[in-house]
Amino acid sequence: MTTTTPSDRILAGPPSLLRRLMRAGAGIFRRAPLSAFWGVIAALIVATAIAAPAIVPYPPLKSDFRAMQKPPDEKHWFGTDQIGRDTLSRVIYGSRASLTVALGAVLFGTTVGALWGLACGYFGGRFDMASQRLIEFLQSFPDLILAMAIAMALGGGLGTVIVAIAITRIPFGGRVIRAVVLSLKEIQYVEAARGLGASHARLMFRHILPQCVAPYLILATTHLGVAIIIEASLGFLGVGIPPPTPTWGNMLADSLNAGLVPPWWLVLFPGLAITITVLAFNLLGDGIRDLLDPRLRGSI
């Protein structure tokens, strides 16, 4: 004989998003092996970034003046830069900066955008009109230029880079979630709740917001790649996280100062790291989108 505890009863409800994601995770290997493969790569990159201090062969900031600008060999797999720092260690540490900025910016930007979009879609009227104009102004700037201007105005550093990139992500969150909310608002269960006298806050956060979680997750993962590229570009242009912190963009910018002919290993490896990371996150994002909501294919 089985007894039901209260927690069992809660779990027995409609499958939660977490459950759906876990089941999707198992299914993804069968249905979309390519996405699954790149998902594993993305997970490995994240793990590398977290475990960086334990796995780097050399400290990323330590100069070795006996081995300056050496091409790759068995001691330094990716070679060393002009002041003898190990490129492999710096590439590994670079993943920390890149992922911190990308995750921070996308979470912050998409969340602010999504809440704004929720409010716009829900309240409509003048507030919505004004917000849409503001979003249009924001979108009149090419992403990188807006991020450059904000990062420059706020004056460099991890926090400012996150804020700068986050602001460029706000319009996307705002637009997509607003559209979702506009269509949800007219659905019967929301009208029923309104008819029962639910407050605005309850309608918005209890009835409409949960339906926005899937588009929100899709939006966030698909924008990780863009955020990584913007971060690298900012570093390359000298308005990112200031040196000596190793970031992939900083390393590429540094390589241009290494003489008339930049050493190939200083150019190749950081760029390869950016490409593989962005590829992994983009394909993972595509996979998540297809699993959670195939209708959104092409629209986000």
Binding site: R133, L134, E136, F137, L138, S140, F141, P142, D143, L144, I145, L146, M148, A149, I150, M152, A153, L154, G155, G156, G225, I229, A232, S233, F236, L237, G238, V239, L252, S255, L256, V261, P262, W264, V267, L268, P270, G271, I274, T275, V278, L279, N282, L283, R297, G298
Partner: protein
């Protein structure tokens, strides 16, 4: 059509005003103290109070904000883009000298993106899930992920390494020395073109796949029209409309992307001066260039919208 054009232009003018306010807010108000942007957070602490005040007065930053804004907009309206802290040339002259190179790069990249992207999209869409399609899709996913400026660095490096070739450093106009001019712009044009081609191939493929299933395409086939003509005359023109819109959005990618790409190639274009303005903390030049880029982006998008409206009556009659 005319009322659509008028509406779009008025909207555009409003957007430009909004954009100017936004640029002003970002560059002048956001830092709290514009001297932070000029000297950097560390440099600021080394200034004495008198130095700070004299700098602020000299730069007109002690006036009320609305007066500063109006003066800035007035200056720009008169074509006065100010001067850099570091170079004798006025910003307006710099734009006139360097702008054409960046415009050429943008033009080459857009043309290239269509020349590469559309044929790939057609092959991909007509034979979905074949080897060619898979290759094309993988290539487009790859080129979306690769940072353009890194590809640029690799190209520069490879040319130097194997051929000892370096592009000319001094900027020359197309009409004074076409050969030297092309050598300068072709590299960045190709890199930016490939990046856009990837998006265009992807969008073109899905758009074409949708259109091919439409009734009028089946009708065209049923009346015995040659299948090449069906694609060329019936499917493609309709499938290209969303691609044109996308191409307009991608112009933002070109305008912004040209900044790091020009740095990678050492191209003496406007993107490179943007990079210089940023690295020299030249806040007034930056402010004007950001505004210029945003206005160009807005105007190009109006142009794209009008093109779409011209091609698609469903939009202009709405």
């Amino acid at each position: 059509m005319y009322s659509y054009i008028a509406r779009r232009l008025i909207f555009g003018a409003l957007t430009v005003i909004g954009v100017s306010i936004m640029v002003f807010v970002i560059m002048r108000i956001l830092p709290g103290d514009p001297l932070v942007a000029i000297f950097g957070p560390e440099g600021l602490t080394k200034l004495t109070q008198e130095q700070r005040n004299s700098f602020l007065t000299e730069l007109g930053l002690n006036d009320p904000l609305w007066a500063q804004y109006l003066r800035w907009v007035g200056d720009i309206a008169q074509g006065n883009f100010g001067r850099s802290f570091f170079r004798s040339e006025s910003v307006a002259d710099m734009i006139l000298r360097r702008g054409p190179l960046t415009a050429e790069i943008a033009l080459i990249s857009v043309v290239l993106s269509w020349l590469i992207g559309i044929p790939i999209a057609i092959v991909s869409a007509l034979r979905p899930n074949t080897l060619a399609d898979s290759l094309a899709r993988f290539a487009s996913i790859l080129f979306i992920a690769v940072p353009g400026f890194w590809v640029g660095m690799l190209i520069v490096l490879a040319l130097l390494f194997w051929f000892g070739y370096r592009t000319p450093m001094a900027g020359v106009g197309f009409f004074t020395d076409p050969l030297a001019n092309l050598q300068i712009v072709i590299g960045p044009g190709i890199v930016l073109g490939l990046g856009q081609a990837a998006y265009i191939a992807r969008m073109g493929r899905s758009s074409l796949l949708e259109v091919i299933r439409e009734d009028y395409v089946r009708t065209a086939r049923a009346k015995g029209l040659n299948s090449k003509l069906v694609i060329a005359m019936h499917a493609l023109p309709n499938a290209l409309l969303p691609v044109i819109t996308l191409s307009g959005v991608l112009l933002g990618l070109v305008l912004a992307g040209s900044i790091p790409v020009e740095r990678a190639f050492g191209t003496p274009g406007l993107g490179y001066s943007m990079f210089q303005a940023v690295s020299e903390r030249d806040i007034f030049v930056m402010q004007n260039l950001v505004f210029l880029y945003a206005v160009v982006f807005v105007m190009l998008n109006i142009l794209v919208d009008l093109t779409i409206a011209f091609l698609d009556p469903r939009i202009r009659l709405r």
